[in-house]
């Protein structure tokens, strides 16, 4: 546990002392603002809710969070510091968890910085605050899944760029499976039942469900399992390096 906390603190310090995290959070905030107001038509809707805001989260997270997570392991492998970490008497899972939690904290900070929007809709009208809170919780859980994907891809390669591209690709596949466009396209090939099952397996499907104001246990399980699956994979990939 001490090792986990030590790794977590070091990662947070590293995010805080290098400009990348600030740049990514700033770009994310700019992009989410742009999408919500320009593309989502926040004012044109003339409704006091944040559905237009949340709808863009999967698509922005898909690019933004792999960028936050890409350095987690790639940078260690490139600089040789991985050898330092793996010769500490700390279990590999504690290193994986510490790094994941640090990146997730960055995502949480980025999300927290969007709350002025929440305040704004309350000034403009009378929104369903419970639904908005649910949206934030679902968004945070979804962010955890995307970061776990980024961490797994980062464990595969010493190149941050390769890790980023792989993670965006994996995240896109898992998200886009839920688009009607994709399932309509897949139906003639694999049959309606399989296309439907694939849709249910997508991030979009579960995030949309939470968007309707109820966060289902199933969606919590889904995002949790996705994160655990990819973190487990990270663990295996890092431990496999000991085999040479």
């Amino acid at each position: 546990m001490r090792s986990l906390l030590a790794v977590y603190r070091r990662e947070i310090l590293s995010y805080a002392t290098t400009p990348t995290a600030y740049v990514f959070v700033a770009v994310f905030l700019f992009a989410i603002g742009l999408f919500t107001f320009q593309v989502g038509g926040f004012f044109a809707e003339r409704r006091a809710d944040l559905s237009g805001f949340f709808a863009f989260h999967p698509w922005l997270f898909m690019v933004f969070l792999p960028a936050v997570a890409m350095r987690l392991w790639s940078e260690e492998a490139r600089s040789g510091a991985l050898e330092l970490l793996l010769t500490l008497p700390a279990p590999t899972w504690a290193l994986v968890a510490g790094k994941f939690l640090a990146a997730w904290t960055i995502a949480a900070i980025a999300l927290a910085l969007t709350t002025p929007l929440w305040i704004t809709v309350n000034l403009l009208g009378d929104p369903d605050n419970a639904a908005i809170l649910t949206g934030y919780i679902a968004s945070l859980l979804m962010a955890g899944a995307y970061i776990a994907i980024g961490s797994a891809m980062s464990a595969l390669t010493p190149s941050q760029v390769v890790a980023f591209v792989l993670a965006v690709l994996a995240a896109f596949l898992l998200t886009a499976l839920g688009l009607p466009m994709v399932s309509d396209f897949a139906t003639p090939f694999v049959g309606g039942a399989v296309a439907e099952a694939l849709t249910r397996f997508s991030i979009l499907h579960h995030f949309d469900a939470a968007q309707r104001g109820v966060i289902e246990l199933r969606s919590i399980y889904y995002f949790g399992s996705l994160a655990i699956l990819f973190l487990g994979y990270t663990w295996l990939a890092i431990d496999a390096r000991r085999g040479g």
């Binding site: 001490r2 090792s3 906390l5 603190r9 070091r10 590293s14 600089s79 008497p89 040479g244």
Partner: protein
């Protein structure tokens, strides 16, 4: 015995990097690990430190099998990886605090350990500057301090003086000599003069196998140019020289 290495082997693909190596290190010994590049020195040290898993054979640190109980063995080894990788954006102080806490030390103990190791490694007043702005010699000393944090009896140092200027080299050698009195040390190096200066024993490794294991003075016996001649004769460099 502090360290027992028994029948250790490791291959990468079809190339045998380390091939059936056995030796032991006891308290008070400073063992120099010699050999041409690619002879298997780093691979052997990585297996002792628990970074790589051997294909065959075993490493025991204080009678603890590294493969069976890695974390417990790693608690007892101080390891300086080749090139002393550090986190450039941290200061030596925060870096050492991180290593101490990741090793499981509580906050107070970690602070004490860092102060003591910083003193042992003669880090002085640059401890608050970021690591990437420090000289190579100073960075090496930070790596050494990290290896000393938990006051291990066994130190495994991979090329601790490589790439340092003569003054920095001398400082690190003094430190090694001081540490060697009450600990066991295994250090790899390309500098034969260093072996003569600090080591009580030299192990020469060539193509993954041990070709000599003796005190440096004994190794140099019968060779016109001392250790260097012995090294060339043992590692097959003699033909190219003649």
């Amino acid at each position: 015995m502090l360290l027992e290495v028994d029948g250790l082997s490791k291959s990468f693909g079809r190339r045998a990097a380390v091939d059936d190596i056995s030796f032991a290190v006891d308290v008070g010994e400073v063992v120099g690990f010699l050999g041409p590049n690619g002879a298997g020195k780093t691979t052997t040290m990585r297996m002792i430190a628990g970074y790589l898993e051997p294909d065959a054979g075993r490493v025991r640190v204080f009678n603890i099998d590294v493969a069976e109980d890695r974390a417990r063995a790693q608690h007892r080894v101080g390891y300086l990886p080749e090139g002393a990788p550090l986190y450039g954006e941290m200061t030596p102080w925060t870096f050492l605090r991180f290593i101490a806490e990741a090793r499981g030390m509580p906050k107070d103990a970690a602070r004490h350990a860092v102060s003591r190791a910083a003193q042992d490694a003669r880090l002085g007043d640059s401890i608050e500057r970021t690591i990437e702005t420090l000289s190579k010699g100073y960075r090496r000393r930070v790596g050494l301090a990290a290896a000393l944090l938990h006051d291990p009896l066994l130190l495994v140092l991979d090329e601790p003086t490589d790439g340092l200027d003569p003054n920095q080299r001398q400082a690190v050698r003094d430190l090694i000599r001081r540490l060697g009195k009450e600990r066991g040390l295994l250090l790899s190096t390309h500098s034969l003069e260093e072996v003569a200066a600090v080591c009580t024993r030299a192990i020469v490794i060539h193509e993954g196998r041990i070709v000599a294991d003796a005190p440096p003075a004994k190794l140099a016996e019968g060779h016109a140019d001392g250790l260097e001649g012995a090294f060339r004769a043992l590692t097959g460099g003699a033909e190219t020289v003649q």
